[in-house]
């Protein structure tokens, strides 16, 4: 690997201050440090550090989404890859530009956002809409707040929500069944909403249904979500309370109004609920940091999801519920902390 390293060393003068390509220094640094870890050392105690860094942290999230990704490509063909590519190119450009303007380093978060976002879209989404969505999501969901770690809303969901509202027709009609190019509008959720048809659970589990490209293969999502929890990258509290609440409320609702509230297992295995609960609600930046806050976050998300699914004009409520609860995250944390440290304040 030495020739590659010396090549990078040779290119470095172009990017230093007063170099010709100084503006692109963040991009060069990102490329260099992705290939070769910097040899930076600790200066203070602790003199030895844990091997986990943000690159691997984000890499593990992507690894956990691989089953969904592979299933998406398998089910909906190479067009999926084009959607992901568009998402990465546009999202990456926004990230690089902002890093260059801010003169800061490029953060790895966009690698996750750029993958989550296309996986939540219907298979027939035009590529330009994918571009618009990720542009809006990264720009107004993350960068304007000050970049990684400072955003209030999950950037992928901000983008998804923007295009859902801006282009309602393609976002609600361009579904496809796996292995077929025929456009259908019948996802399991809409089938229940309009005709109270319950798709067989086996089909739901294996992803033999219409739906967003990454959210139909539920076995893969469950495996990926459990993997994330086992590696401690995501916290189990949010998925547990989220899914638990959905289960309980839909169980009660289904007993009372079986035509409005779908049965609990169907709720959990259809639509984007598992994908949202495993990969999006658990985003550490936009979810509460306190433990009780996490439980509350999950409970409210579950509550909102079932209510929107059953009672609103929208078929799916996962996206809205997570974004709404993102807005309440600081408040939840504030309440929990002020109760916990009440005695100290007095």
């Amino acid at each position: 690997m030495k020739p590659l390293l010396s090549l990078l060393e040779a290119a470095r003068p172009l990017f230093v201050k007063r170099g010709k390509l100084h503006f692109f220094k963040p991009a060069f640094d990102a490329a260099e440090f992705a290939l070769f870890y910097p040899s930076s050392r600790t200066e203070y105690a602790p003199h030895v550090r844990d091997a986990l860094d943000i690159k691997r942290f984000m890499g593990t999230v992507i690894l956990a989404m691989l089953p969904s990704l592979i299933a998406a490509i398998y089910f909906f063909g190479p067009r999926t890859l084009a959607m992901i590519l568009v998402s990465y190119v546009v999202g990456g450009t926004v990230e690089v530009l902002f890093a260059a303007i801010r003169k800061s380093e490029i953060h790895e978060g966009f690698l996750v956002t750029g993958l989550i976002f296309p996986l939540t879209l219907p298979p027939g989404t035009p590529l330009w809409i994918v571009g618009v969505g990720i542009f809006f999501g990264t720009m107004f969901g993350k960068e304007v707040f000050g970049g990684t770690g400072k955003n209030i809303f999950n950037p992928a969901l901000v983008g998804r929500m923007f295009i859902t509202i801006a282009f309602p027709a393609p976002m609600t009609t361009l579904w496809k069944m796996p292995f077929s190019d025929a456009i259908t509008s019948a996802t399991p959720m809409s089938l229940f909403k309009t005709q109270q048809i319950i798709t067989p659970y086996v089909d739901l589990l294996w992803g033999n249904t219409a739906g967003s490209i990454g959210e139909t293969f539920h076995i893969g999502i469950i495996a990926g979500g459990l993997f994330l929890m086992m590696t401690k990258i995501s916290n189990w509290r949010i998925p547990l309370s989220y899914l638990g609440t959905v289960f309980i409320i839909s169980y009660v609702g289904n007993m009372a109004l079986p035509d409005t509230y779908a049965p609990p297992l169907f709720q959990i295995l259809s639509g984007g609920l598992l994908f949202g609960a495993m990969f999006m609600a658990t985003d550490p930046v936009t979810a509460p940091m306190t433990k009780i806050g996490k439980y509350l976050f999950g409970i409210f998300c579950g509550f909102l999801t079932v209510l929107i699914r059953a009672l609103s004009g929208y078929v799916e409520g996962v996206m809205f519920s997570i974004v709404i609860m993102n807005a309440f995250t600081p408040l939840l944390d504030h309440i929990v902390l002020s109760v916990k440290y009440r005695q100290v304040k007095a």
Binding site: M1, L4, L5, F33, A34, L35, F36, Y37, P38, S39, S40, R41, T42, Y44, A45, P46, H47, V48, R49, D50, A51, L52, D53, I54, K55, R56, F57, G59, T60, E105, H107, E108, G109, G147, T148, G149, K150, M230, T231, K232, I233, N235, P284, V285, M289, T290, L337, Y341, V344, K345
Partner: protein, 461 residues
């Protein structure tokens, strides 16, 4: 007692449990400053001949605690470099010292109580005691709630008390009895691991019958071995402001107290643990203050670019390359290779050779895996993503990332409300942070700054 957080950093190169001799040397260079002490008043003149146990300097800020001459030798001063050198030294058996000769009025007026306390101060044993609240030296005439003695040491590469106990168990038990009467017949708290061990059982049987001690059994997980932690976690201790302090000492401290009170010998020879991944022949040595570090390095075969860390890799300090001799507080020296190579695609490695608090490396499935650590940062600095690792590892149940955020925004008061002073400075938050933030350094510094401000305010009012 509730345990929260904590983590054992498992690294290769723990010191082997053998005590080795060190070669003789001709010159000792005693640094006048160390982490807690600043021996600013020098009592000797250049060319003066000193004998083991003589006072050669005192720390006027810390109750005039003395720096003792470890050997017979001729004084040479380098006050700019803050060093007292002892030249052409000769090893001599230390002898009993008459302490009554120069006992200050402050101690004399307190009778026997003052005399015992002054013996410990004069013979160098007092500096092995510390206050669990802030790690400072306690006032020799103060009366504590109790004393905590830890029989455990879980920070990697630190001095393991078992090594001392194996040889000097009876002295240790006697020392505990001295300690018991020293603090006014209050029970001493012994921290033990909740595992079976022969020397511990023996110690326990003897002391328990005497009603001297209370046992605190903790899991063998860092930092439960630290008295600061136990002082905070045990409900029977009074931690409210204004309460009597809780003191702590090590096994070495108990032995020094025993030696001072029974045979009036000064505490001069200390045990030092030598270990670390770059140390080829690890072990323990007995050395005196001022012994040249270079000679220790030569003796155990250290080559190349190696960082020397004193008193633990999680909390200790880097030994300055210009520092020549051991300072008066040194308990362990750890040798770690300075990181110089760059890993190709480091973040995507399977990770059979990397240790992590998270389970995202395959070393997790390797039994008894220990990492060969370097001083590499293992990543780049990034903003905090609130991953919560620091919170789940924090033994004091704090939110280190939030404290850090408040301190960065100059809102130290809010940080104080969130329990800044409960921090026991274990260093685990920084160790685990994937964004490589200097949480420990920031929190620790702010704590120190605030406590000096508070002290000044108290003194002012």
């Amino acid at each position: 007692m509730k345990f929260k957080g904590g983590f054992n950093v498992r690294l290769r190169g723990e010191p082997s449990h053998s005590i080795k001799p060190l070669p003789q040397c001709n010159t000792l260079e005693l640094p006048l400053t160390s982490t807690r002490f600043n021996f600013s008043i020098v009592l000797v003149k250049p060319g003066e001949l000193v004998f083991p146990g003589d006072r050669i300097a005192i720390d006027s800020d810390n109750f005039s605690l003395p720096l003792l001459a470890p050997c017979k030798g001729t004084v040479n001063l380098d006050l700019k470099g803050k060093i007292i050198a002892l030249e052409s030294i000769q090893q001599m058996d230390s002898t009993a010292i008459d302490i009554k000769k120069d006992m200050p009025e402050r101690y004399q007026s307190q009778g026997v109580f003052g005399e015992t306390r002054y013996t410990l101060v004069r013979l160098g044993a007092w500096q092995l005691l510390f206050d669990t609240k802030n790690g400072s030296v306690p006032d020799p005439l103060d009366k504590p709630q109790t004393i905590i003695v830890s029989l455990l040491s879980l920070e990697p590469f630190s001095l393991h008390p078992d090594v001392l106990l194996k040889e000097r168990l009876s002295e240790f038990i006697h020392g505990l009895k001295c300690l018991y009467s020293l603090i006014g017949d209050k029970k001493i708290y012994l921290i033990l691991p909740n595992i079976k061990s022969k020397s511990i059982d023996q110690c326990y049987n003897d002391l328990y019958r005497n009603n001297l001690i209370r046992l605190v059994k903790v899991p063998a997980k860092y930092p439960y071995s630290e008295p600061e932690y136990v002082a905070q976690a045990l409900p029977e201790f009074d931690n409210s402001p204004g309460s009597a302090p809780i003191w702590a000492t090590s096994v070495e401290g108990v032995l020094a107290i025993d030696q001072a009170l029974t045979i009036s010998h000064p505490y001069l020879h200390r045990h030092i643990a030598l270990g670390g991944p770059a140390c080829k022949s690890s072990g323990y040595v007995t050395a005196v203050c001022g012994y040249p570090i270079k000679k220790i390095k030569e003796n155990i075969g250290i080559q190349g670019k190696v960082r020397v860390v004193q008193d633990g890799i999680l909390r200790g300090k880097k030994v300055d390359e210009n520092q020549v001799g051991l300072d008066t507080e040194c308990q362990s020296l750890t040798f770690i290779e300075e990181k110089s190579n760059r890993d190709f695609l480091g973040f995507a490695r399977l990770g059979f050779t990397k240790q992590s608090f998270s389970n995202s490396f395959l070393s997790k499935i390797v039994p008894n895996f220990k990492e060969k650590a370097t001083t590499g940062l293992q990543g780049e600095h990034r903003p905090c993503v609130t991953c919560g690792f620091c919170e789940s590892i924090c033994p004091a149940a704090l939110l280190p990332h939030l404290l850090y955020r408040y301190i960065q925004k100059q809102r130290a008061e809010e940080a104080q409300q969130l329990g800044l002073f409960k921090c026991i400075s274990c260093g685990l938050c920084s160790y685990v942070c994937p964004s490589k933030l200097d949480l420990f350094k920031t929190i620790d510094q702010t704590k120190k700054e605030l406590s000096t401000v508070n002290k000044k305010e108290e003194a002012g009012s």
